[in-house]
């Protein structure tokens, strides 16, 4: 019974998947008799088998559903979406019963009167008056003789109402039930196997050929395919891998002996082994269409829920890939399709207004490309709204304003893969909970795939997934460190670079971080020996090293190894569980020479790279902070910072803090336009007001430009020439006389005017509203603690307050501020960011709350005048107290 039950469960699950697909197809084309016959036959089969094994609940639902389908088939009822929904609902109920059955071996208790009543109402609704007694939903275990082979003569039409005696089944037919003879007639109408065997299990097996028929392999498959347990295939695969290894070993031995009688037979063995390996690999392959079966139903349900008209077009269902990979992409695919339904395709009204057809199309496409399979999910919907994503990303803190400006449109688009990002205006039950695309991305990357995105605003977007055909055999680069060898999946290897003192490429150091100049970018480097914590003797720098340039997601980095051997097709073997917990390895493999080597996981290594980067950053931060603290204690008030030197309207250099500048650009001056607000230029899809940092703005040729941005505001500052970037202690010695100049500092031995960026920005764009006021140099320097978490304001405010003659200490968080105070540091005034958490009372100091908004009681950060005023008043208060 157990075998029978499990067989039944497998068959039925497959049959139901087919029914889902067929029903959706049927709904869109109700006149398609063949489809309907298919559905009808499947449901009937399920019912029959349920009756045979004794599953009353399933049987009664299947029966009620079949009755309704029978009405469709006879043309007694029109096919309406509502009716199809009802049939789909009964299919769902059957599925949930099956799930319970699979888990518990018995049907769950309870009944389905509600659903059955609905189904009956639907089928009776159009019946003329035949108020037949409702069939008992109670269990009717049909221990009937199994369906006979033949029922060749055309059967009479199924009797309406009840009472018709079916000789084959030896009982009265239920309402709307079809006699077996009639069923056979239906079988003949539909394409399918000729012979139905005299066993219920075989009746159920009809489902299989139908599925194949679906894949356009008509008819014949039924007799040629068998069901094989996956474990058998797995062990076959293992054995073949072993065979391949043994073959390789033999070949290696043979290579060393010049003349051997084994040569010819070994050649033959080699050939056969290769073919065997290929054949076994094939058994693991499945058409991707089997992972797509549920999608039409999902699209249909989504379009009903969302009141959209969406058509799903599938292309390349026959594209084959490894069963294991197939399982792993099912969920991401489903999510992507849902996403397209929800965010991609617009409502019919919007589509019509945009001049598109009412029906949106989601196109699913799969094809092979060089050892990979590419899956595209495209829609002809609204496309990605770059601006909205940009704003949302800033709001959610995924990126900050400056980053947002510096990013290209496609970089912005890729932000939808960032964790916790969802632009859906409202959360629907389909998507929009913000746990979507990042999970998709993670899942795809887990199987060594990549995901990309193409989108045109107003024309739709396409997601492109590239995944390996199989996880079992991968192409890998074998690298060596000291005496160890490791395999690196070729998929993440971009290129190999040889670096050394006398070579074109050289490894350079920033602090303790190694980097490589590779074409136009700096590539962060990590040594594999460091990643793996191997003890390596300090090697002389002039020794050349191999650098494997790798790309993992967005991260590109170089992995330093001692040697690169060659590429090999390796069979991935899973790691023992206790080794598998380490992120650095994804498996192990046996090489041709019989040695076991570990396969490195590029994801794990890239995490290490990020850690190295972070720890370096932390180190640098600490160093800067330590330097700042030391300077503060010496009452010098100087902090090392990077300054951008440029010339503007004069021979002497001017400078501003580099961290304030978003980008350096050279823009064709002929594109500048004069408006009532002054000169503007179209920059990255928006109007950027321009201001001159001293000289004149050129009207022809190319104009060097510093671009500043904050949030969505952007301003261009025209300069004569960009000179240099220096890192120096910013010790402003003289307060500037002119508005727009903070003061003068000596940089690189030259007196340099430090410009007040805020002044120029407010000149170009009054909303920046940074009032320029003259600054009094304080004789006795008051100590000010600036608590500001946002780097932009930190960089903006610190120089302003410093230039006003105060001794500024910067804390980037409340915690840091508290730590400083706890350590005994004394301040006269604390400037605290009030946008986040409130700063607590500080003994002996006045706390000034400040805000980036103007509509609060706090001092606005963008108003320099108000800020300095507030500091002065606070100091007075402090002295009075």
């Amino acid at each position: 019974m157990d075998d029978l039950l499990s067989e039944f469960l497998t068959e039925t699950a497959e049959a139901l998947d087919v029914v889902d697909v067929e029903l959706v197809r049927f709904e869109s084309n109700p006149s398609d008799k063949a489809t309907l016959n298919n559905i009808f036959r499947l449901v009937h089969t399920i019912k029959g088998t349920c009756g045979f094994i004794g599953l009353p609940r399933l049987e009664s639902i299947a029966h009620a559903g079949e009755t309704l389908l029978g009405k469709f088939r006879d043309g007694a009822l029109p096919v309406t979406p509502a009716a199809v929904t009802l049939v789909l609902a009964s299919i769902d109920r059957i599925k949930s019963l099956l799930a319970h059955l699979a888990a518990e071996q018995v049907e769950p208790v309870g009944d389905d009167r509600d659903l059955i009543a609905q189904l009956e109402r639907a089928s009776e609704g159009k019946l003329d008056g035949a108020a037949a007694p409702a069939p008992a939903p109670a269990p009717v275990v049909v221990a009937a003789p199994p369906p006979p082979v033949v029922a060749a003569e055309p059967a009479p039409e199924p009797a309406e109402g009840q009472g018709a005696w079916d000789a084959d089944q030896g009982r009265f037919l239920r309402l709307g039930e079809v006699s077996l003879a009639d069923l056979e007639a239906a079988f003949r109408d539909a394409e399918g196997p000729e012979v139905v065997e005299n066993k219920p299990a075989a009746v159920a097996a009809i489902a299989a050929p139908v599925a194949d028929h679906d894949d356009e392999k008509k008819g014949t498959i039924g007799g040629n395919s068998i069901r094989v347990n996956v474990d058998v295939l797995e062990s076959l695969m293992t054995m073949v891998s072993e065979l391949v290894l043994t073959r390789n070993q033999l070949m290696q031995i043979l290579r060393n002996s010049t003349d051997s009688e084994f040569k010819a037979p070994l050649q033959r063995l080699s050939g056969v082994t290769a073919e065997l390996q290929e054949a076994v690999m094939k058994t693991r392959m499945q058409p991707i269409g089997s992972a797509w079966k549920k999608l039409p139903r999902i699209v249909r349900d989504a379009s009903q829920d969302l009141h959209k008209k969406i058509e799903l077009v599938m292309e390349g269902e026959a594209t084959e890939l490894d069963r294991q990979v197939l399982e792993l992409i099912k969920d991401p695919l489903t999510h992507m399709i849902r996403n397209s339904c929800d965010h991609g395709v617009e409502t019919p009204e919007v589509r019509l207004a945009a001049g598109k057809s009412e029906h949106g199309t989601i196109k699913l496409k799969a094809y092979h490309e060089g050892g990979h399979i590419i899956i595209e999910v495209g829609d002809d919907g609204a496309g990605l709204n770059t601006e909205r994503i940009r704003q949302k990303a800033i709001e959610k803190g995924v990126i900050d304003g400056m980053e947002a400006m510096a990013m290209t449109d496609s970089q912005i688009h890729r932000l939808i893969f960032a964790p916790g990002f969802s632009t859906a205006a409202k959360v629907t039950n389909i998507s929009g909970r913000g746990v979507g695309m990042d999970v998709v991305k993670t899942n795809v990357e887990l199987i060594g795939g990549t995901i990309d995105l193409r989108s045109r605003f107003g024309h739709g977007s396409t997601l492109i997934i590239k995944i390996p055909l199989t996880l079992a055999i991968i192409s890998a680069l074998i690298v060596g460190v000291e005496e160890h060898r490791f395999a690196l999946p070729q998929l993440s290897v971009v290129e190999l670079v040889r670096a050394g003192k006398r070579l074109e490429h050289r490894i350079e150091m920033i602090n303790t971080t190694r980097v490589l100049r590779l074409r136009d970018r700096l590539l962060p480097l990590v040594a594999l020996s460091d990643v793996l914590g191997l003890m390596v003797d300090d090697r002389p720098d002039d020794r050349s090293a191999c650098i494997v340039v790798m790309q993992v997601g967005e991260t590109r980095f170089g992995l330093i190894v001692d040697e690169v051997f060659d590429t090999e097709e390796i069979v991935v073997k899973p790691l023992a569980k206790r080794l598998g917990t380490m992120g650095e390895y994804s498996g192990a493999t046996i090489l041709g020479d019989g040695a076991v080597i570990m396969i490195l996981d590029p994801n794990g290594i890239s995490r290490t790279v990020a850690n190295v980067e972070r720890s370096v950053n932390r180190l640098l931060d600490e160093q800067t902070r330590a330097a700042a603290a030391a300077a503060a204690s010496a009452q010098q008030g100087d902090t090392r910072m990077s300054l951008l030197l440029f010339s503007a309207g004069g021979a002497e250099p001017r400078a501003c803090p580099l961290s304030l500048v978003t980008r350096l650009e050279e823009i064709d001056a002929s594109t500048f336009e004069m408006t009532s607000r002054g000169l503007v230029v179209q920059y990255r899809g928006r109007l950027m007001p321009l201001a001159a940092a001293g000289g004149d703005i050129r009207r022809e040729g190319r104009q060097p430009m510093l671009v500043f941005s904050q949030g969505t505001a952007v301003v261009g500052l025209a300069v004569d020439a960009i000179l240099d970037i220096v890192e120096d202690a910013l010790d402003i010695q003289l307060s500037g006389e002119n508005p727009g100049v903070l003061g003068t500092a000596v940089l690189k031995g030259k007196s340099t005017e430090i410009i007040d960026v805020g002044h120029y920005l407010s000149q170009a764009d009054p909303t920046w509203a940074v009032a320029a006021t003259r600054v009094d140099v304080k004789s006795d320097r008051k100590r000010i603690l600036l608590v500001e978490s946002h780097p932009f304001f930190r960089n903006l405010l610190a120089p302003i307050v410093t230039a006003a003659g105060y001794d500024v200490t910067v804390a980037s968080s409340l915690e840091e501020a508290r730590a400083r105070l706890a350590a005994g540091a004394m301040f006269d005034v604390v400037l605290a960011d009030a946008d986040g958490a409130e700063m607590d009372e500080v003994p002996g100091a006045q706390v000034i709350p400040m805000s980036s908004r103007r509509d609060t009681a706090a001092v606005p950060k963008s108003d320099r005048h108000a800020l300095l005023d507030a500091i002065q008043r606070a100091l007075h208060r402090g002295e009075a107290a």
């Binding site: 293992t238 891998s241 072993e242 290894l245 043994t246 160890h484 060898r485 793996l532 914590g533 191997l534 073997k573 023992a576 569980k577 206790r578 080794l579 380490m582 650095e584 390895y585 192990a588 046996i590 019989g594 040695a595 076991v596 080597i597 570990m598």
Partner: protein, 154 residues
């Protein structure tokens, strides 16, 4: 009722004699061409290829907190092949002894003062004529990365 006897394969780790039930042992092999796994725990001696299967070799000495074996004796070491959780492991020991047949009733409980790591992997002790035989609980030996885990599992 006949007294139940069991067959044990004896082996030596450092100076201690251990026993493992014969049915738990798949095979005994000489671990050659072992590939060390950087970053893995100390007791992981490496991975190796045993007739096409990848076997994780566990160093019994470091698992039991014993000093590592002398370098030049490394090529003499032997491994006991066992299955645990569907995976193949090799327990690297110093010497394999004979097979002994012992009465189950004769097994004595672990002495209470036995070190926690040791008592977690020991099922009990037999008094042989000349020395003591510790019966190893191979599952616990392979399961716990540290003695504390195994003790907690107990």
């Amino acid at each position: 009722m006949t007294a139940t006897t069991r067959e044990y394969v004896t082996f030596r780790i450092s100076d201690q004699l251990f026993g493992l039930s014969v049915i738990e042992i798949h095979d005994v092999f000489r671990p050659t061409r072992m590939t060390p796994v950087p970053l893995s725990g100390l007791e992981i001696a490496g991975v190796l290829n045993l007739r096409g299967r990848i076997v994780t070799a566990i160093d019994a000495r470091s698992r039991l907190g014993l000093p590592p074996r002398v370098k030049d004796k490394q090529d003499q070491m032997l491994a006991i092949g066992v299955e645990y959780g569907g995976e193949s492991f090799g327990l690297v020991v110093d010497e394999i002894g004979e097979v002994v047949r012992l009465e189950e009733a004769d097994m004595e409980q672990n002495p209470v003062n036995l070190d926690a790591t040791w008592s977690s992997v020991s099922r009990g002790v037999y008094r042989l004529d000349d020395r003591l035989l510790v019966i190893m609980d191979i599952d616990r030996m392979l399961a716990g990365a540290s003695g504390a885990d195994a003790a907690a599992a107990a």
